[in-house]
Symmetry: C2
Subunit: 340 residues, 2 copies
């Protein structure tokens, strides 16, 4: 007997529908308590389906492209695979949805179709990034909103903390505020006010400011930032890691001697790359929505989809959304209006 | 005959005064057109002085510590080596000043003692960061101010461009605006407005938005950001590069086989580290001040001080401050008030 349904946009991502469907096959073989609903081109999906147990296909010709303007695409393409998946969640036909497609469009479908949690003013996009210890940390907001107010950051802390505790199984997770110094008085108006709000709440373990320099050193389990800064930092980590790896590769290919020496190291160097590959931690959660909505990486393969399904299954089972709702009152630190 | 005087805080930095003085010795041997004025403890400075040609020592017992509160320290420690160096510039006894000490204090001495260029509303801290091509790029503001307005970013573009052209010898340097997407409509209110201002000026070659992911890929010669974001990105680059290198080091020490293979690669791997070491490009300039003020890295050695002196000598010779003053009118894009 299944106890949950996950709606999956089979057409989103660079390698859709193939890798999406193969990922679902892998998950279906392992998680037998889940029913999978795939949205997309039935004929194309069927090409890769090797087993239809607990799998439903909902056919549609329409899909949102990666370069579509998000808000407009969601409004106009009412039959797009991503839109139908979100609609299923809205109609209680599914408990959560996943897409590897257009990030902006997925945020729009989440916000406009499924809707916000009451008391959370802004959704936040939350990927899990690698640390050198292999533990990883949740970064939010990584770009759902370009502007933020201090109360939004206060709310992000709660959502990240609930997720880290329930899904990542970290006891009393450490919530840090990303800032340009560790002292309480550092930062811009946004971070200075957010610091005070976060210090005075009773819902989570706020450990103060954390610096960007220490991000990969396991300095916090949740790192809170406005979406502009979070997106910037996320892309800087990705870009720098990738640039350093490119330079390393150039060095290793520099002459016969280096190539030979490198051949002995290849396995470990691949391990290094894998450690920096945060798709291992699943997709980026869109927190603040009435149901789990998760964005798998656009370039994801079957393994990434499998990991994302496992993550979403955990989110449903551990009642992340319900817990966030139940805890919201604890961040009311006086003088802050939570809208709605 | 000398044609310029450089005031040097001999007491600032982790390895002062030793490495500062040794760096000056190295520079004095090469740049015979410069007179060097060293501020600090005369006895300690003399320990490392091997030649006094074109060198003056101005003795003082006082110095600003790295953990002093910047603004207060500058006001109270009126005889601090850093303050005296700035005072010399103010009194036309020196053409420029250098310190490897407290960054905040150096910004305060620059701003309050030497003073701002008319038409530049905010100073900006501008380090040169590495790229995988070895060319590097100027990032500003890397943290002189936590808040910025669009007109400040417009001005930063001019200052960075003049420096890149005259000192870094890059023809028609590309000025990019750091943003969370390349499209004109992306970003927060600050970057959206700054984009329009920068697009409409006639002083420099604005190439549009650049993304943090591409920073080390030689995507622009000057990258403009508000000080909060710039500082964040700078520290993220440093932290990520250093974390990846640590992981690499762990891999290379993992067992006899790896250690042996790594020993063949050691030279190239050191080269990789050197490529990421941006002290090679000199110190971080504090632009917008009436004279060149440059912050050498706190952990700098003699070579770093030498590089910084070479850089400052270039800035004086190429009349960076005078050129910025002469070009300011060209960024007047209508409707923007340049204060003063």
């Amino acid at each position: 007997m299944t106890n949950m349904k996950i709606a999956i946009d089979a057409m989103g991502g660079d390698h859709a529908p193939k890798e999406i469907v193969l990922g679902v096959m892998k998950a279906a073989a392992q998680f037998k308590d889940v029913e999978y609903i795939l949205y997309g081109d039935e004929a194309q999906i069927n090409e890769y389906l090797t087993d239809k147990t607990r799998i439903t296909i909902v056919h549609t010709d329409e899909k949102i492209e990666s370069d579509d303007e998000p808000v407009r695409a969601v409004k106009r393409k009412k039959k797009a695979s991503m839109v139908l998946a979100a609609q299923a969640v809205k109609n209680n036909e599914a408990d959560a949805c996943i897409s590897a497609g257009n990030t902006g469009a997925l945020m729009s479908t989440g916000l406009f179709i499924i809707g916000r949690i009451k008391g959370i003013d802004r959704p936040a996009l939350a990927p899990t990034l690698p640390t050198i210890t292999g533990k990883g940390f949740v970064l939010l907001d990584a770009g759902a909103n370009a502007e933020a107010k201090p109360e939004h950051l206060l709310q992000f802390g709660l959502m990240g903390s609930v997720y880290a505790e329930k899904v990542r199984k970290i006891e009393n997770p450490r919530v840090g505020l990303l800032n340009i110094g560790t002292e309480e008085t550092k930062g811009n108006e946004l971070t200075k006010t957010a610091f005070q709000y976060m210090k005075n709440q009773n819902a989570y373990n706020f450990i103060g400011n954390v610096e960007a320099r220490d991000l990969l050193m396991d300095v916090a389990d949740i790192v809170v930032a406005d979406g502009f800064t979070g997106n910037m930092v996320l892309k800087t980590v990705e870009g720098t890691a990738s640039s350093v790896m490119s330079m390393l590769k150039m060095s290793l290919n520099n002459g016969i001697k280096n190539k030979l020496a490198a051949s002995f190291l290849r396995k470990d160097l691949y391990g290094l790359r894998a450690k920096m590959d945060y798709s291992e931690y699943g997709g980026a959660c869109l927190f603040g929505i009435q149901a789990p909505v998760v964005k798998a990486h656009g370039a994801t393969n079957a393994k990434g989809i499998f990991t994302t399904i496992r993550q979403v299954r955990d989110m449903v089972e551990k009642q992340i959304v319900e817990t966030i709702k139940a805890e919201i009152h604890k961040i009311d630190v006086g003088g802050i209006k939570n809208n709605d």
